[in-house]
Amino acid sequence: MKLKIIFAGVGGQGVLFATRIFYELAHSKGELVYGSETHGMSQRGGSVVSHLKIGHYHSPLVGKATADILFGFQKEEGLRNLSMLRKGGAAIINSPEQLPYQEEGEITLYILDADELARRIGNPLAVNLVLIGYGISTDRIPFSYEEVREITSRLTPSHLQEANLRALEVGFSSAGH
């Protein structure tokens, strides 16, 4: 497998947790992973980006215009990183409205108001999981919902199990709405 994913958001949104779901999943399937994360002060509400490469790579960074998938957990952060996508790549972005970049770049945009959905299920901090659930439902990611669900469950502390899995599910089943 060869797959490059960018996770973009704002410190505090759980970008690192989202990244972790994918590398743990890939690892559990015997894939090599290599990636890069933002740590330190930016986690205090600043722009946070994770690069994740699954497969045999020598560098942790995804080059510009080479990513397969972009998760934008926040609208602006998603838009800023659109240039990371290769031709034919897919962006899964949390935004309350449609975005004006759809026609221009030979990329596919999947837009979901994950904030609203997360609020609706009373778990406003679970935007990351809602969007991941939605991303899985697009068929652009070579992992199944069940796999993602299982890893998420494994990585979630027991008191948050129900809430986190519900968020994932809400995102996954929001497709087509």
């Binding site: 590398y23 990636g35 930016s42 509400g45 560098s59 942790p60 659109l82 990371m84 290769r86 935007v127």
Partner: protein
């Protein structure tokens, strides 16, 4: 072999454990933040014995670990690159001493930079300190190198530096695990003073040993597996055909290159030599590679360590010739650009090849902010509110982000805040300048390098405010405990070191500990601290701002949650209506003054040290500052807002000081005479004030006085120990100097008729006072030895001899009674006052009563005379009856009634009746309300309290009424300040500006001396004291003092200071209302709309990530708001409210 996905730093930790690490010490920061916990994690997982500690700073950590190595154990220390700068001293020296057990230093560089202060290349330590350096290209390799480093270090007895870059530290990779090395060696330090305690001579020897070690290591490096060359993914084999371009790479760029060359399809054309052992430089590896390529490109981070060590420079391209940028990270994009440029130049890549595609969206990076609910935000907000103009040195930590709130100006390195503050203070002080300096430093950083800095500041007498932001953790680097914690990193017991004890131990006298969540209190304390720095014996003032990091507690405790709501904007936002207005309001002292003095105005001149203007201000109202300052009952002080804070401003004493010290100052030019003649009948305080004001207005005034001298009660009533007659005379002379004519010994109705005056003068002011003595109406009242109080006072004031001695009873409870009693005491009598009501109802001024008692006057309450008993036509005794309190009377005072059968007799030599006087209007042929036009009345003829101040007030009002009567509305005299009527209450005053401080004690002569004669009892305070009182203690309620605080606080710089005061630039004003909110004295009026005006103030200077701007209104982002409630205090328009529903 197992594998796991690890962060680069965790991989290094794994490498240390696999290398047999026994001791590890670090100070938090990348890479230590994850390496040390990683070691701890593997220690637990593998059941190893590793001693782990968070040390106070990097130098300490270095030496802790080094000592273990000296004792033969394998030890490691990790730190950020700037941390190694801190530890460079032991680094440099330890290379000479060498080590025993393997000793590994891990320090990460930060190309970018992303999270630190410099883009320094720590591999240069390999050249400067001569430490062997290992430079990994991936987390996996970093792990291998860490393991190898122990072995290398131990073999050559030398410290080894493993230098990853941040990108490796924070990369995540599938890592293959090896089993840990279980070290069971015990500490065994072998003494060898020539080595471990080497003097310079032996250092030379050690240096020679070092050179030998390095030569051997270089040899080892030349066959190291960490140096290799590769082509198309396979080891490079010797070939006959040289390559046009070869790349020498170190660090993470090697991986970037591999992926990139593969993507670009040129990996078979460009060979790469990867150097993992930067120093000592493996020349024999490099030489054949270089000779095999026509051109060499060197790619390494962040500087040119390999490049500089290359001997054949002609064919080399890199940072030195500008091919590679000198700053920033070598990201895939940057490397691609370099490759394309060089490749095209050398003809390896065709011109058109590989243009990147991609959708560009120009969106600026989001800057980090302090978390919602962060206690630092509260502290910074308060600091800036307290002193927007201060210089704010700060330090390294989350709180660096205080710069977003405008409360951080300087950031240098760990612990610098305190030294920068000291240095700034000294630099300014040298020029005689003072500027507020408020430095901030985190708790962990204070421990790290703040303590020596604070000792230095104290020792060298610096003055500034230091706020230690104590959130009980090392937050930015990931919540490591500080030395103030009683928990060690591995949850074992640690000894908690108290920050406050340390601060006091540094010699700090001013220390306050406060929870910044109480923002108003925090503001107040910062101001108090600043005052300490300004005091004569002041110094550095330290505030410990203590509240746990919000990340530590994760969320607000339920009982402390405050749900906020932002009120919608008002229906219309009219700038003209809602704008701030500078308008002086009415202070309570002014409102209380019966004489109509603008108290605040003269205090304000006095505060500025402008005695001349202060005198003139009083003289605009009345001519008697010296008199009033002595005899007025000062209701102004009663009303003074300051009285609710500590003690009222000593207004009377200040007026007296102004009158006495400024007595010789000439009056401002009076208006040109208008020739209009006005008569004033009665030369008492009311008449004289009227005459004075009329004269100022240009009238020709003639005063008619029945007594031999003018002054009225001031002259003949008030005893000289309260009002020396020369003081009165001086102020009357000033009236005379205006050309006021005075005829004494003329009694209207006797020597001249009112009709005659009416004929000869355009207007007449009647102020004949109340002189008709009231009588007791009891038997014996006309006996010899029974006197009227006023008669006695008059005789004394005229210097007449009075034959009175022995036991004297004074009947009455007014000021006359007290005055007489005190006078008689001075004349050797034994005096008792009989008053029919209680002490509370006594009309005499409380202070006078107290003084009388102190001097020895006795007072009997609730007694009333029944009759006066005679013996030989002379008084022998007085019969009194006891009274009891009854119902409230019509006048609001409690009535009293006699107790039947309680009569008793007191033997006395004399009785003085002092129960009041009333006006004698016999000279009028009519009632007062039947007076003809042109005749005005004042003073005690009016139904008003019979006080000097009321008399003065009525005199001035009379003059203005006459002026208006004679000349209409035009030309009324203006006063200094135009005030709106709205009174200022204590709630309008920002008390944090005013430290509690007692008013000056008013000097008096001793009671003994006082009782001996008629010397003035009350003494004045000096002009200097008076000025200090006016400047420091007067709130100047509702009156702009041009303190500039609004101007420096305005977040939009919309306030302009002009000649005439402040002006608002409405184009800039956003109606945030901060100016009105911060005015210390309520001198700016601006309606509070209690709705969001969309000014953005909360976003700008509070900068909470949970407050967002939508269209024209601020909103709460519920998804991130943690309900700390801090913002409720912030909005000056009162739009952010607690949502209680």
């Amino acid at each position: 072999m197992t594998s796991r996905v690890l962060l680069g730093n965790e991989a290094i930790a794994r490498g240390l454990v696999e290398g047999g690490c026994q001791v590890m010490a670090s100070y938090p920061g990348t890479p230590a933040s994850e390496i040390l916990p990683g070691v701890l994690k593997f220690r637990e997982e593998e059941g190893l014995d590793v001693y782990v500690e968070w040390s106070i700073n990097e130098k300490v950590a270095f030496e802790i670990a080094l000592a273990a190595s000296y004792a033969g154990k394998r030890a490691a220390v990790a730190m950020k690159q700037v941390g190694l700068n801190v530890a460079s001293d032991p680094l440099m020296s330890s290379i000479y001493t060498g080590v025993k057990g393997g000793f590994v230093i891990i320090s990460a560089d930060d190309p970018g930079p992303y999270s630190s202060q410099t883009e320094q290349d720590s591999r240069f330590w390999g050249l400067l300190a001569k430490v062997p350096v290992l430079d990994p290209s991936s987390p996996q390799e970093a792990k291998e190198m860490a393991k190898y480093a122990f072995e290398l270090s131990e073999r050559f007895e030398i410290p080894v530096l493993l230098r990853p870059t941040l990108r490796i530290c924070h990369a995540r990779q599938t890592i293959k695990f090896d089993p840990p090395r279980r070290e069971d060696r015990t500490a065994a330090f072998e003494k060898n003073p020539h080595r471990w305690a080497a003097t310079p001579r032996y250092r030379y020897t050690l240096h020679r040993d070092l050179s030998r070690k390095l030569a051997a290591i270089k040899k080892e490096y030349e066959t190291s597996r960490f140096n290799f060359s590769i082509l198309a993914g396979a080891p490079l084999r010797p070939s006959s055909k040289p390559f046009p371009l070869g790349i020498i790479a170190g660090g993470i760029v090697y991986g970037t290159l591999r992926d990139l060359l593969e993507d670009m399809g040129i990996d078979a054309e460009i060979p790469i030599l990867r150097i993992g052992t930067s120093c000592p430089f493996p020349e024999e590896v490099v030489r054949p590679f270089v000779s095999f390529c026509h051109h060499i490109l060197v790619l390494e981070e962040p500087d040119a360590v390999l490049e500089l060590q290359l001997r054949e420079r002609e064919k080399v391209r890199g940072r030195l010739d500008g091919t590679v940028p000198k700053e920033g990270e070598l990201t895939p994009e940057v490397v691609e650009r370099i490759l394309k440029q060089v490749g095209r130049e050398l003809g390896i890549i065709s011109e058109a090849e590989g243009e990147s595609l991609g959708v560009e969206a120009e969106i600026p990076l989001r800057r980090p902010t302090l978390c919602s609910g962060c206690p630092h935000r509260a502290a910074f907000y308060a600091i800036r509110r307290a002193f927007p103009q201060a210089i704010f040195p700060s330090d390294i930590g989350c709180y660096t982000l205080g710069l977003n709130l405008g409360a951080v100006d300087i950031i240098l390195d760990m612990g610098a805040a305190i030294n920068i503050a000291s240095g700034l203070y000294q630099a300014y002080r040298q020029d005689g300048q003072r500027v507020p300096i408020v430095a901030t430093i985190g708790d962990s950083t204070f421990f790290h390098a703040g303590i020596p800095a604070l000792v230095n500041a104290v020792h060298n007498r610096a003055r500034f405010v230091l706020v230690i932001l104590d959130n009980s953790t090392t937050a930015m680097t990931g919540m490591q405990p500080t030395p103030a914690s009683n928990q060690a990193v591995d949850r074992g017991q640690a000894e908690a070191v108290s920050i406050e004890d340390l601060v006091r131990g540094c010699g700090i006298e001013y220390l306050r500990i406060i929870d910044p969540y109480d923002i108003p209190e925090m503001i107040s304390v910062v101001r108090e601290a600043q005052r300490h720095t300004e005091e004569e014996r002041g110094g550095v003032a330290v505030i410990i701002s203590r509240h746990p990091c919000i990340q530590l507690i994760r969320e607000m405790p339920v009982e402390k949650r405050v749900k906020v709501v932002i009120q919608p904007p008002p229906s219309s936002i009219e700038k003209e209506i809602l704008k701030p207005l500078y308008q002086d309001r009415t202070p309570p002292c002014n409102e209380a003054c019966p004489a109509g003095t603008d108290v605040e105005a003269f205090l304000s001149f006095l505060a500025q040290g402008n005695l001349e203007e202060a005198v003139q201000e009083i003289l605009k109202r009345h001519p008697f500052p010296s008199v009033c300052g002595r005899v007025c009952f000062h209701p102004c002080e009663e009303a003074c807002n300051r009285g609710q804070w500590d003690q009222p401003v000593a207004i009377a004493a200040l007026e007296r000081a102004i009158g006495d010290e400024g007595g010789r100052i000439a009056l401002e030019k009076k208006r040109r005479g208008n020739g209009i003649q006005v008569a004033v009948v009665g030369g008492g305080p009311a008449g004289l004030t009227c005459a004075y004001n009329l004269a100022l207005l240009g009238y020709k005034v003639h005063v008619f006085e029945a007594q031999p001298e003018v002054g009225g009660m001031l002259r003949y009533g008030i005893p000289p120990y309260r009002l020396p007659k020369d003081v009165l005379r001086r102020e009357i002379d000033r009236i005379k100097s205006l050309g006021v004519m005075i005829s004494t010994g003329v009694r209207v109705g006797m020597n001249i008729s009112l009709e005659e005056l009416k004929r000869n003068f355009k207007a007449v002011f009647l102020a004949t006072g109340a002189h008709k003595r009231k009588k007791l109406r009891i038997p014996g009242e006309d006996l010899e030895g029974v006197y009227q109080g006023l008669d006695i006072l008059q005789a004394i004031n005229m210097g007449k001899e009075i034959e009175i001695k022995g036991r004297i009873g004074v009947i009455g409870g007014g000021n006359t009674a007290i005055d007489v009693a005190r006078c008689l005491l001075r004349m050797g009598c034994s005096t008792t006052i009989f008053y029919r009501r209680t002490e509370e109802e006594m009309p005499a001024y409380h202070q006078e009563v107290q003084e009388a008692l102190a001097e020895g006057v006795k007072i009997e309450y609730l007694v009333s005379p029944v009759r006066i008993l005679e013996e030989g036509g002379r008084i022998r005794a007085v019969e009194l009856v006891k009274m009891r309190r009854a119902d409230m009377g019509d006048d609001g005072r409690r009535e009293v009634s006699p107790i039947d059968g309680s009569q008793f007799t007191m033997e006395l030599e004399g009785v003085v009746v002092a129960i009041g006087e009333e006006p004698d209007l016999s000279f009028l042929n009519c009632e007062l309300d039947e007076l003809k036009k042109g005749i005005f009345i004042g003073g005690d003829l009016l139904p008003q309290p019979r006080t000097v101040a009321h008399a003065l007030g009525s005199g001035r009002r009379g003059a203005l009424a006459i002026h208006k009567y004679l000349q209409g509305d035009v030309d009324m005299p203006s006063t200094q300040k135009i005030r709106v009527l709205q009174k200022v209450s204590i709630e309008d005053i920002d008390l944090s500006w005013f430290p509690q401080q007692n008013r000056p004690s008013l000097p008096r002569i001793s009671k003994k001396r006082a009782a001996r004669g008629f010397v003035e009892v009350q003494r004045g305070i000096s002009l200097m004291q008076a000025q200090k009182e006016a400047a420091e203690r007067c709130f100047h309620c509702g009156s702009c003092t041009k303190c500039d605080y609004c101007l420096i606080s305005c977040p939009e710089e919309a306030i302009v200071r002009g000649e005439e005061g402040y002006r608002i630039d409405l184009d800039k004003c956003t109606l945030c209302r901060l100016c009105a909110e911060v005015c210390p004295r309520g001198a700016i009026s601006m309606p509070m709309v209690e709705g969001c005006v969309g000014c953005g103030y909360c976003l700008k200077l509070f900068e909470c990530p949970s407050l967002i701007m939508s269209d024209t209104k601020a909103e709460v982002d519920e998804s991130t708001c943690i309900q700390c409630g801090l913002c409720v205090y912030v909005c000056p328009q009162g739009a952010i409210k607690e949502n209680k529903s």
